[in-house]
């Protein structure tokens, strides 16, 4: 009885906290019909925001894939001085407020920042442009891949790599034939989470974006602008699309995990 009550309470909390807002977003987006929602998405500024979001994610996710694997590989397979510091640094983006994650780039590369005058002299734009958006997104989403991989790789230990070495495999052969296949499912799952966050990031991106419509607005920023201008239909339509991207990502992750589970099951 008590267990059922607890289960019921948990489901209720889940419904109120997660399901209801999601339903509300889609309901609000479609309240005035499909045509209005689709028109809001097909509007040039909205399309620009969507393509910018996809572009930023398309750059940031591969960067974090490589960086995350490299960091996890170093931390899990080798001992070196400063290892603890590196572990802490990997988690830093989670601990720091996204506003600060954006602000540091403005401080470094903004017009009045440390490197601002030099950049201006050379005609380079980082803040309020694509490079700034990518930097902020990379910083905020860095931990996803690394933190998914580190515990798994630590758990797997170094013995298989050592065995590969005694059998004559070089460093790259060992990585691609032994290490990478052992982490592939966790890696995919980390990449998908990283991607979801890269597309949805608001705080850090908001600081470095400058909110130039059609140029430096990503989808989350576009939603905010529309909302502030009382264009609710448009705001919710774009928000619904963003939510849909997140749901697809989560669905893909769940599917991958099932596939991984089935493969492990077939092997075990």
């Amino acid at each position: 009885m008590a267990r059922r009550l607890a289960l019921l309470a948990a489901l209720l909390v889940l419904a109120v906290l997660f399901l209801l807002p999601l339903v509300a977003v889609f309901a609000e987006a479609l309240r005035r019909g499909w045509d209005v929602a689709l028109a809001a998405i097909a509007e040039p500024d909205a399309l620009a925001a969507i393509s910018l979001t996809l572009l930023v994610a398309a750059i940031a996710v591969p960067v974090n894939l490589l960086g995350g694997v490299a960091a996890a590989w170093c931390i899990a397979k080798f001992d070196f001085p400063g290892k603890r510091l590196l572990v802490t640094l990997v988690e830093l983006p989670f601990a720091v407020s996204p506003v600060i994650s954006g602000l540091v780039w403005v401080l470094l590369f903004g017009a009045h920042g440390w490197l601002g005058p030099w950049l201006q002299a050379h005609g380079l734009r980082i803040v309020f442009a694509l490079p700034g958006l990518v930097l902020a997104t990379v910083f905020v989403t860095f931990p996803f891949v690394a933190r998914t991989l580190i515990p798994l790789m630590q758990d797997q230990g170094r013995e298989e790599e050592e065995a590969a070495a005694t059998l004559g495999a070089g460093g790259l052969q060992t990585f691609f034939r032994v290490t990478l296949p052992n982490i592939r499912w966790a890696l995919l799952s980390g990449v998908l989470l990283c991607n979801a966050r890269a597309m949805g990031e608001f705080g850090a991106v908001s600081v470095v974006s400058g909110h130039v419509r059609g140029q430096t607005n990503t989808m989350p920023l576009h939603v905010e602008i529309l909302y502030n201008e009382y264009q609710f239909a448009g705001a919710f339509a774009v928000a619904a699309l963003l939510a849909l991207l997140a749901l697809v990502t989560l669905g893909a992750k769940a599917l991958l995990e099932r596939l991984a589970g089935r493969q492990a099951g077939a092997a075990g």
Binding site: E159, E160, E162, A163, A164, A165, T166, L167, G168, A169, G170, Q173, R177, V178, P181, N182, A267, G268
Partner: protein, 347 residues
Amino acid sequence: MTAGLGVDVAGLTRRFGAGRPALHGVDLAVRQGEFVALLGPSGSGKTTLLRILAGLEFPDAGRVRVGGRDMAGVPARARGVGFVFQHYALFRHMTVFENVAFGLRVRPRARRPAEAEIARRVRDLLALVQVPELERRYPEQISGGQRQRVALARALAIEPPLLLLDEPFGALDAQVRKDLRLWLRGLHDRLGITTLFVTHDQDEAMAIADRIALLRDGRVVQFDAPEALFEHPADAFVAGFLGDSNRLPCVVAGGLACFAPLPLPGMATSLPDGPALAFVRPGALLAAPGEGAVVQGVRHDGRALHLVVAAGGRMLEAAPAPGWDAPRRGDACALSIAEARFFAAQQ
């Protein structure tokens, strides 16, 4: 198949952090084709020695030669040494076939056999280790003993002149261990590969090794054939580690060892005066009806009677003297020593 190479180790020292070094000046000369056990209690440095031979660990000082070639600065992948890990370290995402083929597949293109040749060699090896039916299975799907055989086949695939095994039977149950160790010895005799294996089990070492290197605190205490180790232990540690002797403290005065307060007659010894240790095998400590000790336990193992007797506040392992056919629990008895080995007590 492959001819073995000799191994020559001199002055090997390895230290992990502060404190006692894991290896402390190890010298060892293993002959070509020999089957050698590295035996010692845990922490004696035997696994570290094995890993240095494989190139997985590097010594702080000393030199390793395999087949006369200095191995300093040669990385593990260039040594061509076969290594079988304690927990096998099979590649978990590969089938048994791919595990065994790995060492051939990673060769540079010029030395890599053709696919058909790889398949033939893998199947030969799986037949050699007697698990040809497993080639499509994954490591998770096979038993510990089978994993051990697959790990061995994988190591043999590169045709190593030297085979190193770290606690090869450590994770297996007793019966599988016994079968597998005899089989491994037979395999060694067929292939002739110089083989070193680490163990902490003296029975295992005694049963199959040509020679045993007994390690303690990062040094080789004695390196000898099993019988020689048993008959002529170099010091009290060796005598105590091998066999299950009774350790009896005694005092030597004028060539006579006195065991008081134990109820044992004195024995002649060549040791100088002072405290000493006597090692007496259970079969050499004879109990006969009499006074001084009490039988606490009687066990028959199918060949002989084994007694546990209480004497002078200690439990000793003994055997009934000839003629005492039916000792029973609670019988009073007298003890005598047929044979003992004496060592001066270490100060």
